[in-house]
Symmetry: C2
Subunit: 583 residues, 2 copies
């Protein structure tokens, strides 16, 4: 061992002890006869001192040291004359008697500090240096803790961690698969799993009863911001359960993680909301309920008053922004421009301010004070508040209001990091109609069961009825981000075959792609259901961050490249030939 | 929840309770007025009874049930009149009052019993049914336990579990990579990792100090028996350590697993053996030391006695098989044929029997009783023993003797399952010369450091000297199987560059393939080393099995196919086109 202690370990109680430390040089300060060296490792920083009484060779070496050199030093633990209360090791320093350079270092291309001077690209290229910085070390330590605690909890609940294969069969439905050419079976390909969905269901058929895995998944999508082609899921499945059992089991997991990772205690049950309510009141299937500001519909109030914009709209609704009646014309104009951005997609913004002088709106010529009072009442507004109204096609307008709500919440500081608002959303539609391909797609995936009370609609061939079928599905939402989703699955092979039929698969096609699971259901499949959590995102949220990239040791960039490795890259002709492929 | 208790839970203390169970029907016995149903789940089997007093609908349903049906029953816990002491639930049975078929089952294609009547291929095709059998459930439960305990121990030792990427850069050196064509960067490929070797070293450069991961690895090899194209490693790395630190840390891990998974206690240090000794005494770099039967060299004794076979051989050596002097001529002929098989490769077998009548050999005309006595003494033989001698080229003959030794150990029942003999083997050669390609290959991998005392040889250009360089590498061997291997790594970029030079890489080639790690070493790389364990195999050994297949939920066959999924398979032309590929 190159050390007796780590750089985060020594305290005043060690005073006088002979110790050996090893680590990286964070900083060197030369103060005339004294040199102070901050030695860093994963565990902390310890101050080393070289002074006029130090051995000559130590003084000589000290002059050759630079930032990020790796050194090994021996010396005596001394009490500091000026202590640093901000550092756990701030009461002591090491008067070093030997110093050995284990590895010299070129000057790093950016500073290894909490706030680095390196741009994103540079830091990505030298990821191994960026990973030395505290924020990234904390992120990966948090992720480690999360992973251990997830396993500890699920193990205690008799879940079995079972590994499923990575080289599987390509069954494109939804996102694109990454494929892996087979050399031994030329012309054929494996696919990398988008999730272990079918395997975990087979494990339920096999009687494993409770399964989990923290597992890498792959999706060859055009990358949007903060998506990765490979990502990690906490993947879970249970047999002989109904929705309530799943929600309770995983609510307990979440509470356990809040408690054991963040020391945040949740005693009450997490709130629950139907998908319909989430859309109606929050304009989103993943409401951030850290703040209220619920959407109120006012279509009936505003129609028939000769304001053509509202008269022609299917839907008018708004949000009440508390204590913002004082917004200036300029601020309101800016907000109007903001909602017109294509990402929000509103045509315009109508506002009502409730100032000392009463309710004033941008559409006063169409609406009486009584009308405005009714609108204000719908919003539960009070004097000092600002009401913002949007109108148009119902679902789009609700979503635009949802986006505006989040924006106002952010602007008003209502979305506090360190505050956590978990939420279950349930009763999603089972199917989504796609106009382009003229077929239904599974909103969740083709193994999600319809709600038992909707089975009749599910068996009808009426598109409108099919569109009304609800799924026995649920999402776990934290602070406006979906971090988990699952469902009670189909376990009846006939219902599963009907599902493939509804999705427009011919029986042959269904059988070619999913024959193994349709067959498996014929040999005694138990009722089962499960959930999968986005582990990268859950870690990021627990770490108080918006982006996942710092919670992944070696992430890809937005073009799906690893710029440190320079991958993907060309391969040898010989290798292509072995695979029977031509580019 | 479909049940109040599992099928492994109820005892006499529950007598009189109303319970609900759910599970699979293992067996139905109709005894006139009584029907006994064994209901199975992951936790056990519980006996259900239907008799003349049972409700009419229960009696009616009972007649329609079959093997592997999934049912839910409610009833009363009763004391059995004839108890079954072999079953944990054998004191009770459930007199059922309701019975609901949750899912009917076709007759399974083979019996779901400890010993199935299904052939290997059939069971592989219906893996989800094979996985219902006890031996497989036990295997996967053991694997789960192993995974949890590995993490528990390493977490307690401050190792951080850090996930490394699966879509990396292809750097063929050693085994073939599986590659993944990139759609967004047409004509370029990712590779699937053969191990996270370079990433874990970068994490040491990044200061993570102690890393581990239980991680899938991929090798596109022509599959030998009991190899899988995807397999799982316990991958570990530590900074600021020497060999001794690694051996101690992971010996403690192994002892912890023996204790906590198998309840086997090891108090003494594990034995250690140099590679040279392992070859000399066991003819193998992974000796099974559950039994002794060490190889003794007798070249000097047998030469110059006019027996041309021995005279011409570089090496003659043997093993002493205790208490087998009574082997018949037929048995010895069979052994002779056995050693001539190409897998062993010996030209013939010479034996010496020490019977009541003294030492008798198959080469008595060349050797005096004195010669034979000297040979017997070398082997520590005593009356009643049988000595088996092979000769030829030294290394090959040692290996053949090693194979014969294992065979004799097996035949004599000396390789007892449930007995564990761990061993460290160290000081492997660094390089292996390949005559075909006329170059050196790294015996372990190109990041393994030469032993410090061999650095001078390492820097010479004399092939013979280079061949003598020892690696600072070590293997962990259990019962004759290598389950772990590692080394102290190179952390000096100049030594690393020299290594690539010795392996015949041009500087450009080395830089193209491994530039990132050569560069990383320039920015302050700490001394570091690690080890990786074959997790599938370790689980199999702990489970007392020779093959890993039952310890993997969904394994591939020897042709690399998943016969359940029928993967690999053809993919759509459209998909190929998107990837810019032609078959």
């Amino acid at each position: 061992m190159y050390r007796t202690h780590t750089c985060g370990e020594l305290r005043l109680t060690h005073k006088g002890e002979q110790v050996t430390l090893a680590g990286w040089i964070q900083r060197i300060r030369n103060l005339g006869g004294m040199t102070f060296i901050d030695l860093r490792d994963r565990y902390g920083i310890t101050q080393l001192t070289v002074n006029e009484d130090s051995p000559a060779d130590v003084k000589a070496i000290a002059h050759t040291l630079g930032r990020e050199f790796v050194i090994q030093v021996a010396g005596t633990v001394m009490e500091r004359s000026s202590k640093n209360a901000k550092m756990p090791t701030g009461d002591i320093e090491i008067a070093i008697s030997t110093c050995r350079i284990l590895n010299a270092a070129d000057t790093p291309p950016f500073t290894i500090e909490d706030e680095s001077d390196g741009g994103e690209d540079l830091r990505a290229r030298f990821r191994y240096l960026d990973l030395r910085r505290n924020p990234l070390q904390s992120a990966l330590k948090l992720r480690h803790r999360m992973a251990q605690e997830v396993r500890k909890y699920l193990d205690s609940q008799h879940f079995l961690e079972i590994e499923t294969p990575f080289l599987i069969k390509s069954t494109p439905e939804g996102a694109r698969d990454f494929v892996v050419p087979s050399r031994m079976n030329q012309g054929e390909f494996y696919a990398l799993p988008q999730s272990p969905q079918t395997f975990k269901q087979l494990l339920m058929v096999s009687g494993y009863d409770r399964y989990f895995q923290i597992v890498r998944c792959f999706r060859d999508e055009d990358l949007r911001a903060d998506r990765q082609p490979e990502f990690t899921q906490i993947d879970c499945e249970m047999a002989f359960v109904e929705r309530e059992d799943i929600l309770q089991t995983f609510e307990e997991l979440a509470k356990y993680l809040f408690k054991n990772v963040l020391d945040v205690e949740f005693t009450d049950a997490f709130p629950r909301m139907s998908y319909a309510d989430a859309m109606q009141y929050y304009g989103s299937d993943k409401p951030d309920i850290r703040f209220d500001m619920r959407i109120a519909e006012v279509t009936d109030v505003v129609k028939g008053k000769n304001f053509a914009v509202f008269d022609d709209a299917e839907y008018t609704g708004g949000i009440c922004v508390q204590n913002c009646a004082g917004y200036t014309r300029k601020q309101l104009d800016e907000l109007t421009e903001w909602v017109k951005r294509p990402q929000v997609g509103a045509k315009g913004l109508v506002y009502i301010r409730w100032t000392d002088e009463g309710l004033k709106s941008s559409v006063d010529k169409f609406y009486t004070p009584d009308d405005l009072t009714r609108i204000a009442a719908r919003h539960g507004a009070k004097q000092g508040d600002l009401i913002l109204l949007l109108c148009g096609e119902k679902k789009k307008t609700q979503e635009a209001l949802g986006t505006l709500r989040i924006e106002m919440g952010t602007r008003l500081g209502l979305r506090k990091s360190g505050t956590f608002a978990p939420l279950w959303v349930y009763d999603f539609p089972l199917l989504e109609w796609d106009n382009e391909t003229q077929r239904f797609y599974a909103m969740h995936h083709p193994f999600t069961s319809p709600k038992p009370e909707d089975l009749e609609k599910f068996n009808s061939n009426d598109k409108n009825l099919l569109a009304q079928v609800n799924a026995n599905a649920y999402d776990f939402v934290l602070n406006g981000t979906e971090i988990g989703g699952g469902s009670i699955r189909i376990h009846d092979s006939k219902v599963q075959q009907r599902m493939f039929e509804v999705l427009g698969f011919s029986p042959e096609e269904a059988n070619y792609k999913f024959g193994f699971i349709i067959n498996a259901f014929k040999y005694g499949a138990p009722p089962h259901g499960g959930i999968a959590f986005g582990f990268d995102r859950w870690c990021a949220l627990f770490g108080g961050q918006e982006t996942i990239r710092d919670f992944i040791a070696f992430p890809k960039n937005n073009a799906g490249r690893d710029v440190m490795l320079d991958a993907p890259s060309k391969i040898d002709e010989a290798q292509l030939k072995e695979l029977g492929l031509k580019v």
